[in-house]
Amino acid sequence: MSNAKRDKMNLPIINNERKRFLSKDSCLRIFDEVVSSSSDSSASVVQIRTTWKSTVRWARNLIVNTSDMRNNNMTVTRSLNEASGRYSINQIDNDSIRNAVKYTEYFKQFSVEGDDFPGFNFEMPHLKPDIWDDEIYNLDIKTRNEIVQPLLTSSEESKMLSAGYIELEAGGHAVISSSGLVRYYPYTKAQYSVTVREPTGNGSGWAGVDSSHWKPIDTDQITSVAIDKCLSSLNPVRVEPGRYTAILEPQAVADLFMIIGRYFNREFNEEKPDWPFYLSPGQSKIGLKLLDERIIVTSDVMDSDLGGVPFDWSGSPYLPVKWFDRGVLADLAYNHSYAVKTLRVNEPLLDGQGIRINEGPTPLEEMISSTKRGILVTRFDRMTEVDKRSLLYTGFTRDGLWLVENGKITKAIKNFRFTESPLFVFNSIDQIGPSKRVFSPYLPMVAPYMKVRDFSFTSLTDAI
């Protein structure tokens, strides 16, 4: 193999930058290379997600593997005379970029009308959420192992088996366009979750959290919760399926609300009769009271408990939004094309940022003490759609389920399959408690404890 050919595999565009992810300067140089490679006056947009990820995974009280992974995803989009073409690569060097540009120019002939061209330069405030943490970036493998070893020891001392995972991530999102848009935002995030199981499989407990900062991730406390849940869930007994008062931990509330969040698309809810917030042709249910009047749901990247890169893949900014206001559906999300063509406004309203469900005054202890007969739920798993229109889903409880009788937790019980709609659940609320950041690495969420009536547990499962 010639040396010349080997050199082609190197990285002249970023000067062999050896940082763990691309800097803003590197992204700007990449954009310059795109423009200089172009053979016409097409508008150009470069979208880059550059990441470093480092992980520790363990099972059966031993570290199973660790990893250090880096990658860049870059999409070049070029547009001329309302025709656009795009091409995606992860190899960042001059020649690959030039070739990607040529592919985009070629793909323009297949462009479809109405394709939303990214990189529009909105004249909107640039929010600057605090989502960078040096502690995450500098948490090296040695320090991480020093964190993990005591957690393994505590599980072992409890005669339990733990399986867990720490993931650290740092990176940058960049959207740079020939319309003058230059957006680059660095971020960090971390997640910690652990499952503790009784060695013969007669009990299982789980706890986890994620954050853009390391400090809120109290690994000792999270592990302790998982061990406690495991120990208190041993030898579960069968309880008849049926409708029960359910006390939902914040993770369970978030799991259910995530279903609603999947259907925030305004355009679809105005056009598709089988969508849950469709009212009539061209009209959604915005303005109608759909949930309990105590429910307020917001998104705001400046929310210190949520955070998030302040713009999406197209460069459009995330703006603070109230999705539900005292139970009334207040807004639904739409893209730039829909904003301009249908709503005659310039700015899109994006979903996909973090979600906060407001908290209430009732502590968990009071929820339990005021319950004659009910079920305490840790979390839900494997939820699948049964009916989109009513948001009826089926799924399973997992990693800790207890019967509450006469104001006390009396016994661990076997897991249930449920068949339920979050629209029904969040309309059947008895009490709302304090909220906290839950484990939701792909969409940061803050959710409260909730006690709800008539939750439909439809059948038993022996799975633990």
């Binding site: 193999m1 190899q91 002939q109 393994l152 995972y165 089926t394 633990i464």
Partner: protein, 532 residues
């Protein structure tokens, strides 16, 4: 003139088809990551060996290196888009502890950095409690392999793909009463180079293809929103796979199918226990939701406990060779050698030659899906059975960015000895239920599950009768498979494809299930929308 990547690479003037673009420099061919003539395979092998040597010199007891390069093309309706990804991953083992580092920069300097990083991780991990890894025997291999796809992605022109999709849509729109229509074609091409410190150096090229052609009749009523569809599950194949399905000729049939999906009388489901006949696609879905993933050894041993879950078959050494998990007529093998299977390869991603291995033999648990490390966990059973302790070659993954992991092989439910079809099995049922096109899900140990969607019909005196609305099944996995009374013959076999999702971080891998229809007694039929 049509444009293929191969043309793009070989002919600088390819962009002459696009008037906006001038001539392409000769540098283009040199620079493009894809080199269809295979010349870069040698380059990748030398880079992989450089990483192996670096890891060994730094003290790795074992090291392996994967380099992958993928082209992923989607034609949605008539609009093509494409992604290229290249990656290298280095894995090392020291004193029972793994280290892994990966990157999109495939060059000598970077792979030495990755090797150094991976070795450092292994060393630091090994300072904790004692752990042993016994890599089961794998004979070092050298070689190159390409799948037998006829029309490799690189040989297909963008124009042909665009014109094909646009032409299909145009033809569909000529029929009265057709509302929306959808055409999605996916073509993937993955090249892998793999080298180990034990002397294995191999390369593989695999093409995959799938397609969905769907139309919907419409007059605005809900009942008319039924579809006719041609679904080609992901297969190890080239563009010929789509052409051979003749989507243009299928249009009248799809319209008829859509028409039969409307206007029929439906009855509410009468819940209870029935003899149920599942079509071959449903049986494949049931395998993918139950016995397939349940026989992954890492799940069974608790290694996926914090992720996708564990398995009800969680005592391997006690269960192997003795635990009955299904009716005796059920024989299931894992097989990554079978034609068109989405997980088909010559070697797995640990360089172990792929093979067919029995998972369920005459209804009894016979083996688990394993990698080299996991195989040694079963060595007491293999020793007792006078079998060699070797991996079942189940490591896979499209991207070297991900840590190599055990994933699903293709799963084969062996046909029955009699040549029974779905219709034939229905003919044997006096009063029962027939289900086709359903989807299945199960809990995190695959103990219990149920179905959603699908077409559910009564069987009366051996014939299909009324359609049932909102009907589905609920099952206990072991009961379901033990209650299988008959299965279809070889002529009723179909292939469906699925995605194996596991790990932290989550990674996925494609696989196929080859399956036949089956008749199962005493199955719970439920109203899926009925709450407690």
């Amino acid at each position: 003139m049509t444009t293929t990547r191969r043309n793009l690479l070989k002919q600088g003037a390819i962009f002459s088809a696009v008037p906006l673009i001038g001539s392409v420099s000769g540098q283009y061919r040199e620079a493009l990551p894809l080199q269809p003539d295979g010349s870069d395979r040698a380059l990748f092998k030398s880079i992989a060996l450089k990483a192996v040597d670096a890891a060994k010199s730094l003290g790795a007891e074992y090291a392996d290196v994967r380099i992958t390069r993928q082209v992923y093309m989607v034609v949605l309706n008539a609009f093509p888009s494409e992604i290229q990804e290249i990656a290298v991953g280095v894995r090392t083992l020291i004193n029972g502890y793994w280290g892994f580092a990966s990157s999109p920069y495939v060059n000598d300097e970077e792979v030495v950095r990755l090797a150094t990083d991976a070795v450092s991780q292994s060393r630091i991990n090994a300072t904790g409690r004692v752990r042993s890894v016994d890599m089961s025997l794998a004979k070092p291999v050298q070689g190159d392999w390409s799948d037998p796809a006829v029309l490799d992605l690189l040989t297909v022109s963008y124009e042909e793909l665009h014109d094909f999709a646009a032409g299909w849509i145009q033809k569909v729109e000529q029929y009265n009463g057709v509302g929306s229509r959808r055409c999605k074609i996916v073509l993937k091409r993955t090249e892998k180079v793999y080298a180990t410190s034990e002397g294995t150096v191999i390369s593989q090229v695999q093409g995959k293809a799938s397609a969905d052609f769907e139309l919907m009749l419409s007059n605005g009523t809900r009942e008319l929103k039924k579809t006719g569809s041609l679904h080609l599950p992901l297969a190890t194949a080239g563009w010929e796979y789509v052409l051979q399905a003749k989507p243009f000729e299928q249009i009248p049939k799809l319209i008829e199918e859509a028409k039969t999906n409307i206007g029929h009388m439906v009855e509410p489901v009468d819940v209870g226990r029935y003899t149920v006949v599942f079509d071959a696609s449903c049986t494949a879905g049931l395998l993918a939701a139950t016995l397939g993933p349940a026989t992954q050894l890492d799940r069974a041993m608790g290694f996926e406990a914090n992720a996708q879950g564990t398995s009800f078959l969680n005592k391997p050494l006690e269960s192997l060779g003795s635990q009955s998990v299904s009716a005796p007529i059920i024989n299931i093998t894992g097989d990554r050698t079978i034609g068109k299977g989405a997980a088909t390869a010559r070697w797995d991603d640990e360089g172990v030659e792929c093979k067919s291995f029995s998972i369920i033999k005459d209804g009894t648990l016979a083996d688990y899906q394993t990698n080299r490390e996991q195989a040694s966990w079963l060595s007491p059973y293999y020793d007792k059975s006078n079998r060699e302790t070797v991996s079942n070659a189940c490591v896979s993954g499209d991207s070297a960015l991900d840590l190599p992991m055990q994933h699903m092989p293709n799963i084969v439910l062996h046909p029955g000895s009699e040549d029974a079809s779905f219709e034939g099995l229905i003919g044997d049922v006096k009063d029962g239920i027939a289900i086709s096109g359903a989807q299945f899900s199960s809990d995190f140990q695959f103990r219990h599950g149920g179905s959603m969607k699908g077409v559910v019909r009564k069987i009366t005196n051996g014939k299909l009768a009324q359609y049932l609305t909102d009907a589905g099944v609920l099952f206990n996995t072991e009961e379901l498979w033990k209650n299988v009374k008959y299965i279809g013959g070889k002529n009723s076999s179909v292939m469906e494809s699925f995605i194996s999702v596991k790990g932290e971080p989550v990674q996925s891998s494609d696989y196929s299930v080859f399956s036949v229809p089956m008749m199962v007694e005493d199955v719970s039929l439920i109203d899926v929308k009925r709450k407690a």
